[in-house]
């Protein structure tokens, strides 16, 4: 037995997250906490705070979703309803002024969690009997059902306008009334750290370990004394709780909830976020949530077609990197362990940079086509990569096609060398 496998080196999350036999390490949590505190000093603008708040909420939601998808092997198409119902419940608490004025705002997400959990208790009691297609179909059906309720049960869901409230009516928390965006940021940060830590700990408990076992082989788990159904049920309920917490934070941040928070689009987005980040690792959904929120907010300021690019990225992830961004990162662990990761730097530069430029060229072609087809008549000017030009002349098209072809061509030509370098870097011995 090699002792190397027993270390709790934080630079090796693969072991920490997967091996399970290791004592807990606090380093990533402390680093995460410090980062959360420092972020507003680096990104000071209000819009940056808004983006980060949205990011952390998505992180909690995606981690909760991954308790089902990654940890428990349950594919849900309707998980937004648990976050949504938690959020709506919090909204109603905000509007119940007597109760709300005696409740410190940071406690509010607990109620969101409890309502999300309550709904998960009910739905889980019949949906977790099976995993696979049956579970997916029930989740979709229940999701649609509750989303449809938003226009039927107007008293709770507020119909088409939704429900709004005011967070500042809460009992002041050490004199703070959460008037400023920065106050809300720290509230959200506190919850993202707490929720992530609790969800991580959950994955280390007997029921959390058995969730993995049931995911991999439900039959064997049954012959070890565990009912696959109950293991799924407990994961489902816990996931509902944390989804509800995310919903509660959404309520605090935006002070309005609508049908949009419940519908299948939101459920689809969280699946996309989680998968993009990688379902195989605990921290995968965190990366996914950060990356996706950036795409959604920053890229959407640059182009109307951001959803097209996000979709393309998702399809590419599913097809080429089923492990998601986290899987892509963790692929490099063996090379690092062999001390050969530096052999990859030059081949990477040779392939990825031309490839990236080629893809930018492709994006330019997409943008130009979109502009050519959809811009108002006479509006021939467009700006792309800080250059303004006429999309109805031939020259920009030639340039874009040339950049695409050359970039992708070089990437393709250098790919075999990269593959070779990759194999070499992952083989023990040799010229290290």
């Amino acid at each position: 037995m090699t002792d190397e496998n027993l270390t709790t080196d934080p630079a090796r999350p693969a072991q920490r997250m997967r091996a399970g036999s290791l004592s807990l390490t606090f380093t990533p949590w402390i680093v995460g906490g410090i980062l959360l505190v420092l972020m507003p000093f680096i990104f000071t603008s209000n819009s940056a705070l808004t983006i980060m708040n949205q990011m952390w909420i998505t992180v909690i939601f995606a981690l909760a979703y991954n308790m089902l998808l990654g940890q428990g092997g349950m594919l849900s198409f309707g998980h937004a309803v648990y976050a949504g119902v938690g959020g709506f419940a919090c909204m109603h608490i905000m509007n119940a002024s007597d109760f709300f004025s005696s409740l410190p705002l940071p406690v509010l997400p607990v109620f969101g969690g409890l309502f999300g959990m309550g709904l998960a208790l009910i739905v889980g009691s019949f949906s977790t009997r099976n995993a696979g297609t049956v579970f997916a179909m029930i989740s979709l059906g229940v999701g649609e059902l509750i989303a449809a309720c938003s226009v039927i049960i107007v008293a709770f869901f507020g119909g088409e306008e939704g429900i709004s409230g005011d967070r500042t009516y809460a009992m002041p928390f050490f004199g703070n009334e959460f008037l400023q965006q920065i106050d809300v940021y720290y509230l959200t940060s506190f919850w993202v750290l707490l929720s992530a830590a609790l969800m991580y700990l959950w994955s280390r408990t007997p029921v959390g370990r058995m969730a993995n076992a049931v995911r991999d082989n439900p039959e064997r788990a049954e012959f070890l004394g565990y009912s696959a159904r109950w293991v799924r049920f407990y994961s489902f309920v816990a996931s509902g709780f944390f989804a509800g917490v995310a919903g509660g934070l959404f309520a605090i941040n935006y002070e309005i909830l609508t049908e949009e928070n419940l519908n299948t689009t939101s459920s689809g987005v969280i699946l996309l976020v989680t998968f993009l980040g990688g379902v195989g690792f605990f921290f995968g959904p965190i990366i996914g949530a950060v990356a996706f929120t950036l795409l959604q907010t920053v890229l959407s300021l640059q182009t109307e077609l951001w959803a097209f690019y996000a979709g393309t990225l998702f399809v590419a992830t599913v097809m080429f990197f089923p492990g998601g961004l986290a899987g892509l990162m963790m692929m490099h662990v063996p090379a690092f362990r062999l001390g050969k990761a530096n052999h990859l730097i030059v081949p990477y530069i040779k392939t990825l940079i031309p490839g990236f430029i080629g893809i930018l060229g492709l994006c330019a072609l997409v943008e130009m086509t979109f502009h050519f087809r959809h811009a108002a008549t006479g509006d021939n000017e467009m700006t792309l990569f800080w250059t303004t030009f006429d999309s109805h002349t031939i020259l920009p098209w030639i340039i874009a096609i040339a950049v695409t072809a050359i970039g992708l061509g070089i990437a393709r030509a250098t790919a075999p060398a990269l593959k070779e370098a990759w194999n070499e870097a992952n083989t023990a011995g040799g010229a290290a």
Partner: protein, 253 residues
């Protein structure tokens, strides 16, 4: 006479019109090593699946230590002290070898569905799992994903998982299927070692293993037991020789 560890009475199973198990009466005593042999398609694995409630029986009863198992789910039967392995290796391939065994220990150590215990904080669990790994000689493979083990090692791991929960009735479905001679010897020794003092029921094709391990043998042909007894008696039984054993023994020599 004391209560048998496992008692089957009038057990029948039909799939549609096809009667696979056609009335089996069998009683296996505590700490007995019992082998079930028979030609392909005789219903040996089906019999295993009936006993462990993987399939419901059409008729008849299964009693574990005198207690009727009718209507119980596999996980409930497991909790009563009956554990089984499978003909096709059935482990958790993505988990480490150590975790496979630890999962098998969780219920018997009373952790149930708890979410207030951390598994890696429990010395009892870690030491228990390592003790099992030591028994099945896989301590060196402890931190490898189970799916990367060799076939014989995976079979050994499955036996480890099967015995880990401390069940007193162990059922092994063809533990040496598809193994080389040396691997077969290794698994046979392993089975002898880990089932010490326990009731063992096994389906096996390899006659060397059967005669080396079993206290008693039952011969299953077309869903019926045509002979039960000590190895030498079964070997001498003309009915058995006619149906199955003769041909198999000839092939051996």
């Amino acid at each position: 006479m004391s209560t048998p560890a496992l008692e089957l009475t009038g057990l029948k199973k039909s799939f549609g019109k096809a009667e696979i198990i056609r009335g089996i009466d069998l009683s296996i005593g505590t700490a007995e090593r019992h082998a079930i042999i028979g030609p392909n398609g005789a219903g040996k694995s089906t019999l295993f699946n009936l006993i462990t409630a993987r399939f419901p029986a059409t008729e008849g009863t299964v009693k574990l230590h005198g207690e009727d198992l009718a209507g119980l789910q596999p996980f409930q039967i497991n909790r009563k002290g009956l554990s089984r392995s499978f003909q096709i290796t059935n482990i958790f391939p993505a988990m480490t070898v150590f975790e496979n065994v630890r999962c098998a220990l969780l219920w018997s150590q009373g952790y149930k569905y708890s979410f207030w215990n951390l598994v890696n904080r429990s010395r009892q669990l870690t030491e228990g799992a390592d003790a099992i790994l030591d028994q099945i000689n896989l301590l060196e493979r402890r931190n490898l994903p189970a799916g990367t083990l060799s076939y014989a090692e995976q079979r050994a791991l499955e036996i480890g998982i099967t015995i880990a929960g401390g069940a007193d009735v162990i059922m092994l479905d063809e533990p040496t299927a598809g193994m080389s001679h040396s691997e077969t010897d290794y698994i046979t020794d392993l089975i002898l070692k880990v089932t010490e003092g326990k009731t063992l029921v096994m389906v096996e094709h390899d006659m060397g293993v059967v005669f080396g391990l079993a206290d008693r043998i039952s011969v299953l042909v077309y869903g019926e037991i045509i002979a039960t007894g000590k190895p030498e008696d079964v070997r001498g039984d003309p009915k058995v020789q006619e149906a199955y054993l003769g041909a198999a023994l000839e092939a051996e020599h």
